[in-house]
């Protein structure tokens, strides 16, 4: 079998100890996915596995044989940035940029989770079939991605602009 990386079929590593993160960066030359803590605490290494956000530092590459991985390098289509990537630029969703690929991949996965009604720690009604991506929901759902520059307001704005339904009254959008 092969691992699909941004649509390209790749051979898994021979050594099962290679993390998905090191496989992407060191074996395939895709340095967009970042190594922050390398222990599952920061979210910088977030990628999408069959559309679900995961931490590539805690994943062994061989476990993803036969599955489809999307990294920050695979989000743009035909040379055009993903809408969330554009929103991060417009809303100053980063300063140093190191956490940004993880933030963006995480938010793409998060939007799918909200769409299918996955509850979060702040979801008041577990029986609700639809979830509104409120400020509190967004911050809780993105809590696995740390930004040491403190660009969180821009990050929240970019994700809100891209994924939250327009509020009926003047909201936090800018």
């Amino acid at each position: 079998m092969t691992i699909s990386i941004n649509g390209s079929a790749e051979e898994p590593p021979d050594d099962p100890r290679v993390s998905l993160l090191d496989y992407l960066r060191e074996h395939l030359g895709l340095p967009g996915t970042k190594k922050g803590c390398d222990q599952g605490a920061c979210g910088a290494c977030t990628v999408l596995a069959d559309g679900e956000r995961i931490l590539s530092c805690l994943a062994l590459a061989v476990q993803y044989d036969g599955r489809s991985i999307t990294t920050i390098e695979g989000l743009a289509t035909n040379g055009s940035l993903h809408p969330l990537q554009r929103a991060f630029i417009e809303d100053d969703g980063f300063q140093c940029g190191y956490c940004t690929p993880g933030q963006i991949c995480s938010a793409v996965g998060m939007a799918d989770e909200v769409q299918r009604g996955v509850p979060s720690h702040v979801t008041a009604d577990l029986s609700a079939e639809t979830i509104e991506l409120s400020h509190d929901e967004l911050r809780e759902r993105m809590s696995g991605n740390l930004c040491r520059c403190g660009a969180h307001n821009g990050i929240v704005a970019a994700i809100t602009q891209t994924y939250a339904r327009p509020a009926p009254t003047e909201g936090a959008a800018r």
């Binding site: 100890r17 995961i54 994943a59 476990q63 044989d65 998060m110 509850p119 577990l126 696995g144």
Partner: protein
């Protein structure tokens, strides 16, 4: 460098055959084992990937649920039957880790995750009986603010880190096991051992034994249940104290109650003493507090974690009060 083999199994017989080998470890989502391998605390020579075993969430004939061990944590938390019938379980899961980790972590792996005691992790700098039997424990007398107050021993004061297990303890879950010798079940509250003199033996699992499923028995009043987690930051932190509780009232009297605690004990802690004290009592803050105090009477706090006794007492009292208010319609 220690060579490691990797095998992805698709049936339980193959899994337990491979898992019986010396040096073999079952691999779920990897969120704990991969980290521990990197820290050299775990040094397996064979990884048996059990994420491909049949994993689903099914109704049992008696009205409970059978959750396959390979089911991801997110899949349990979002399952309609779990949300409707066992809301404390959904709430416990989404209170733990981050969404990325919940998408990876399996139910079986969650049960077998190891403590996050910093002295356990500090391979080069600290003594730890759990990591190196008989070595001593640097947590006692050290920075012990996050450590356990219940179920401890002079050998070990490390907490069990799981949120999900706390809800499963309250719900009376049953763990299904398989090995080359056959199948058996143990109650979740009997899966993890108290540290006593051998903290390195963390569970009653036999060598090579595999968790295949977790059964949640029917419990009608668990539909009125919740999970509250108190931690140092609002999200993505381990519990200082957590409480899973379900309450059943007969008028103003407590007909039945389930309480389990996280963040304060060396294993997922079913608060049976508090439950016993509370059954038949009036559903008042005074009764709730008395029950909590009865449970915490056994607490053996350390220098830095004495606050957990009162924090746990207050959290139990508050959670039960909230459930009572919901049931009696005092407030939303």
């Amino acid at each position: 460098m220690i060579p490691v083999t990797y095998a992805r199994v698709t049936d339980t017989a193959d899994a337990v055959s491979r898992g019986a080998a010396v040096g073999a470890r079952y691999l779920g989502g990897g969120t704990n084992l991969v980290d521990l391998m990197r820290e050299t605390i775990e040094q397996p020579t064979a990884l048996v990937d059990v994420t491909g075993l049949p994993g689903s969430i099914d109704d049992t004939p008696d009205g409970g649920l059978l959750i396959g061990a390979a089911v991801r944590n997110t899949a349990v938390a979002e399952h309609p039957a779990v949300r409707a019938r066992y809301p404390m379980l959904s709430r416990a899961i989404v209170a733990g880790a981050s969404a990325q980790i919940r998408n990876m972590a399996t139910v079986g792996g969650n049960l077998l995750q190891r403590t996050r005691c910093p002295y356990f992790y500090d391979h080069d700098g600290s003594r730890c009986n759990r990591r190196e039997p008989g070595q001593g424990c640097d947590a006692v007398g050290g920075f012990d603010r996050s450590h356990a107050i219940l179920g401890t021993s002079p050998s070990c004061v490390a907490t069990h880190p799981s949120d999900m297990c706390v809800a499963l303890a309250a719900l009376g879950a049953i763990v299904h096991l398989a090995s080359a010798d056959g199948e058996r079940t143990v109650p979740l509250t009997g899966l993890h051992r108290l540290p006593e003199d051998h903290p390195e033996i963390e569970t009653v699992l036999r060598p090579g034994e595999l968790i295949t499923a977790v059964e949640v028995p029917p419990l009608a009043f668990a539909a009125h249940s919740t999970y509250r987690k108190v931690r140092d930051r609002a999200s993505y932190a381990f519990a200082l104290v957590s409480v899973a509780a379900a309450l059943d009232l007969d008028g103003d009297t407590v007909r039945d109650v389930r309480i389990a605690l996280g963040g304060v004990a060396t294993k997922p802690w079913r608060a049976e003493r508090a439950e016993d004290v509370l059954r038949g009592q009036p559903a008042t803050p005074g009764s709730f507090r008395a029950a909590a105090e009865a449970e915490l009477a056994a607490a053996r706090p350390l220098r830095g974690n004495q606050f957990k006794v009162e924090l746990a007492t207050r959290t139990i009292t508050a959670v039960l009060g909230g459930l009572r208010d919901e049931l009696t319609g005092d407030q939303a």
